[in-house]
């Protein structure tokens, strides 16, 4: 992965000023092309009906309610996911738990599921007449409604928070400092409070931003779980407007809603980015005492903690997937999921020629997106290392793509580039990059931030050329985080549905589009089979992710 960003970071001393300026120019140009121009076209739609229409839309109590609903659920989801993700990261990275590798894999499991599969799985597992209801007569009360949305999306967002915090723990928080505190007589809780958490602050804030934005633009989960309770969010309202957008007024209303989300994202993310900019880590090099060791908690306590964490993972991530699989195996909806009713016919119906084509397209797009987004993400991080006028604005701008609901971003991209690129894989690629740039940036941020410039300088001073310094010092230090970021972006691109469904052309259907079109044939058992196949496939591809994260141990 040759990337100008690292070279720029490595040579700050000598050519710093000039190289840095070029990086800023490059970042600005890319942001304008990928996000700026599409966004302006989208705003054109929003105000196309006149300012009066915009105000009338926002004054509609239904719209106002939807905005409020989106805000408070997303805030709650972000808090839950980050508290849970931080606790889980401390447990797996510092707790010395037995079976930590398995626990990490389990924490990351929800990443494998596209949101519509997650929601489907939860209703089959914990809804009325779900698996738990059939087996034990219990169901999650309020699953259909805001509570369910918060719960399911928090579970889905937790791995994102965990990755950022665990990455920071592995690279940013120096075990030496923690050991020094312990050696000086501080209790573990004091170390956590006075050393570890303060060092984690940027990572935690970054995780809050990512999970909030992830939650506020989620569509699949609120659509399935919110509808029965009459609970509407901005994204579901926007989709309903699109469904009736043969009426131009409703298309304009969808534009207004999308613009509202952009404003919300700026309001929430902007201040956080301003704080994060110019706060690179303080780390100076490899820990003198090696990797962080376990705390001295008793073996029994560690076992109990591992068991607790494992049980949670089982309940929130594994059981819903099992429920999907059982539905896929059952002959028809409404029959008990017992072996007598099992069949593989649903899988047969799910697999047709389009599946193979879709798989190829999705793989190409996901590899392309991840390979582009990781260096782009690093670029923004490098640019944001320094305080300077407008630097934090760049990070925030990149986040807008991630904050926009997929349907709105796809419309924006089509408006901007549909004329040249329509029906090509390129237009989908542009949309994926615009959407996932921020995700890549936030995942890379933790590790690039802590790259000790001094080591690079030392290498250069000892006679290594820029390439040699990059190869022997920078890449090895960053490798785990870069690979993890690459895989996260790959996963999101691989199961992306909302944008693909709008952007694909006759010869560029992605796997998720194939799944959607088959799903619309109306047979839930076949849909479940498709979902199971999709998740299985993603799982096979994602195994490297688990292997990589294991190396953090």
């Amino acid at each position: 992965m040759a990337d100008p960003a690292y070279g720029g970071a490595a040579t700050t001393a000598a050519r710093g000023r000039l190289g840095d300026r070029w990086l800023v120019v490059l970042a600005v140009m890319l942001l304008v092309a990928l996000i700026g121009i599409p966004l302006v076209r989208l705003l054109g739609v929003a105000v196309g009906g006149g300012v009066g229409n915009v105000l009338a839309t926002l004054a509609d109590p239904g719209v106002g309610g939807a905005i409020l609903n989106s805000l408070w659920t997303a805030a709650l989801i972000a808090i839950l996911a980050v508290v849970g993700g931080t606790a889980a990261a401390l447990a797996t990275e510092r707790g010395g738990l037995p079976g930590a590798g398995w626990l990490r894999a389990g924490i990351l499991l929800p990443l494998l599921c596209p949101p519509f599969v997650t929601a489907f799985g939860w209703t089959r597992a914990y809804g009325p007449r779900g698996l738990a209801d059939r087996a034990f007569g219990v169901e999650v009360p309020g699953l259909f409604g805001p509570l369910g949305i918060v719960l399911v999306l928090a579970v889905a967002a937790l791995p994102l928070a965990w990755l950022i915090v665990a990455g920071a723990l592995a690279t940013r928080v120096e075990p030496d400092a923690e050991r020094a505190a312990r050696a000086s007589g501080a209790a573990p809780s004091t170390v956590l409070r006075t050393v570890t958490l303060p060092l984690l602050r940027p990572a935690i804030l970054s995780a809050l931003v990512v999970t909030f934005v992830f939650a506020v633009n989620a569509f699949g989960v609120p659509a399935i779980l919110g509808t029965p309770a009459g609970f509407t969010t901005i994204t579901t309202r926007l989709y309903q407007d699109l469904a009736r957008s043969s009426d131009p007024a409703l298309f304009a209303e969808a534009g207004v809603l999308a613009a509202t989300l952009v404003v919300l994202a700026i309001a929430v993310v902007g201040p956080a980015d301003a704080w994060l900019t110019g706060r690179p880590a303080t780390r100076t090099g490899e820990s003198a005492g090696g990797r962080a060791g376990p705390t001295r908690a008793g073996v029994r306590r560690r076992r109990v903690a591992a068991f607790g964490l494992g049980s949670m993972i089982l309940l929130v991530a594994v059981v819903p997937l099992v429920a999907v699989l059982l539905t896929a195996l059952t002959r028809a909806v409404g029959l008990a999921p017992v072996p007598a009713n099992w069949t593989l016919a649903n899988f047969g119906e799910a697999l047709d020629a389009r599946f193979a084509d879709g798989l190829v397209h999705s793989l190409v797009l996901a590899v392309g997106t991840a390979t582009i987004v990781v260096p782009l993400g690093a670029l923004l991080v490098v640019v944001g290392r320094r305080r300077g006028r407008g630097r934090s604005v760049l990070r925030t701008a990149a986040t807008l793509g991630f904050a926009l609901p997929g349907s709105a971003l796809a419309i924006a991209i089509l408006l901007a580039y549909g004329g040249w690129l329509r029906d090509t894989l390129a237009v989908i690629l542009v949309a994926y990059v615009a959407k996932l740039w921020a995700l890549g940036q936030r995942q890379v941020a933790g590790s690039v931030d802590q790259l000790p410039i001094e080591i690079v300088r030392a290498a250069r001073a000892s006679g290594a050329g820029p390439a040699a310094a990059l190869r022997t010092v920078v890449v090895p230090l960053l490798r785990p985080s870069l690979i993890a970021a690459w895989l996260i972006v790959f996963l999101f691109a691989f199961h992306e549905l909302t944008m693909s469904a709008l952007l694909y052309g006759p010869r560029t259907a992605t796997l998720s589009v194939v799944v959607l079109n088959a799903q619309q044939l109306g047979d839930p058992t076949v849909s479940a089979a498709l979902a199971a196949l999709l998740v299985g496939l993603i799982g096979v591809i994602a195994v490297p992710l688990v292997l990589v994260t294991r190396r953090w141990a």
Binding site: T227, R331, L521
Partner: protein, 364 residues
């Protein structure tokens, strides 16, 4: 809402304009089937007896045969994939050398794609094949559709076509019940009975075009109105996203009864789900799935040929073969009772009003 008035005026004048070629055609055909929208009253439905086999003879001779199709056309559609595949396959077999570039997606994505096209240089499709007449009415209203009468359209009941778009198949909104729920509902009002309280599933008109059509029907029908939805809510009905979700909910026993599409119910019953179809005695709400040629198409002859094929016996057979009730002739599932339709043109002007009234009851 001040902008509503000019919009309505514009709409009316456009409608007049759009009808102009249709009127000429009517004169030319001298007594052919009425090509004006001719709304269907829900109480007295002309579609009650779909024995429309006698009408085609009168109009066929006076319409010129279509030019032979060549090249590629683009189709935007929300019709199910297997149905599109069957019809496109049949048309290509009949006309070697033609090609159809299909964009198939749910209604919302198709609508968004069309709206985006219109914002950036014009509609890129040559033909539109949608799932409900109201969306199509929006495009007719904007003057995007070709006003003409396909040679095969004469056979279609006047309730299921306009001067720009033509029904291809019928989606029937019906009731279903769990297999163990007896005697089960006989008509819509039985959904308000105390013995099914808290166990009724209905699809959300905000998401599903067919559910919106049902909302339009009830809002117009004598003795129902939007008050019917209030009564459903009072009987603790639950809204879910789509008709398929109602079917699953009843099959699983989460609901005892529900409102869904006959096709959805039949698919589940065929596979062995423990549910039964309950055809309303006042008639299923028939929603025709319209197809139209785009006026600005660069390859109009080919688009017209495709549109006509969907309405021809061969096209109708292909549609029936994928489990839908064809709009002309038999084949496919047979309706188990009468069929009624809302007055589509009246509903078209009131979409937002209806949806707002619904949302005030069911939330959202």
């Amino acid at each position: 809402m001040s902008p509503a008035l000019p919009a309505a005026v514009r709409r009316r004048s456009r409608q007049l304009l759009a009808m102009f070629p249709g009127m000429i055609l009517v004169v030319a055909c001298s007594g052919g089937p009425g090509s004006s929208p001719s709304p269907t009253q829900p109480s007295a439905s002309p579609a009650t007896s779909p024995a429309a086999t006698s009408s085609p003879a009168s109009s066929a001779p006076s319409i010129e045969p279509l030019a032979s199709p060549t090249g590629t056309i683009t189709l935007y559609t929300s019709v199910t994939q297997n149905t599109v595949d069957a019809v496109v396959g049949g048309w290509k077999a009949a006309h070697p050398g033609v090609e159809v570039a299909v964009f198939r997606a749910p209604t919302a994505e198709v609508a968004a794609r069309i709206a985006t096209d219109l914002q950036s240089g014009g509609l890129k499709a040559d033909a539109l094949w949608l799932s409900d007449p109201l969306s199509m009415a929006g495009y007719a209203d904007q003057g995007l559709l070709q006003a003409w009468t396909p040679p095969s359209a004469g056979a279609i009941d006047a309730a299921y076509r306009t001067d720009t778009s033509f029904g291809t198949r019928l989606l029937n909104m019906v009731m279903i019940r769990g297999a163990d729920v007896t005697p089960g509902p006989a008509d819509w009002k039985d959904l308000l009975a105390p013995d099914v309280k808290g166990a009724i599933g209905i699809p959300d008109p905000g998401f599903a075009g067919s559910a919106f059509a049902a909302l339009a029907y009830f809002s117009q029908a004598d003795g129902y109105g939007t008050a019917f939805y209030q009564a459903l809510k009072d009987n603790a009905a639950t809204q879910v996203k789509a008709p398929d979700d109602v079917t699953s909910g009843v099959a699983e026993g989460r609901f005892k009864v529900g409102m869904t599409l006959d096709n959805s119910a039949r698919t589940a019953i065929k596979k062995g789900s423990p549910i039964a179809l309950a055809w309303p005695s006042s008639g299923a709400i028939a929603i025709y799935s319209p197809i139209a040629a785009v006026d600005a198409s660069a390859n109009r002859a080919t688009a017209d040929s495709f549109v006509d094929f969907t309405l021809s016996p061969a096209g109708q057979t292909a549609i029936a073969g994928t489990g839908w009730q064809p709009v002309v002739g038999s084949g496919g599932p047979t309706p188990e009772g009468s069929q009624v339709s809302p007055d589509w043109s009246a509903a078209f002007g009131k979409q937002k009003e209806l949806l707002d009234a619904y949302r005030a009851i069911f939330g959202g």
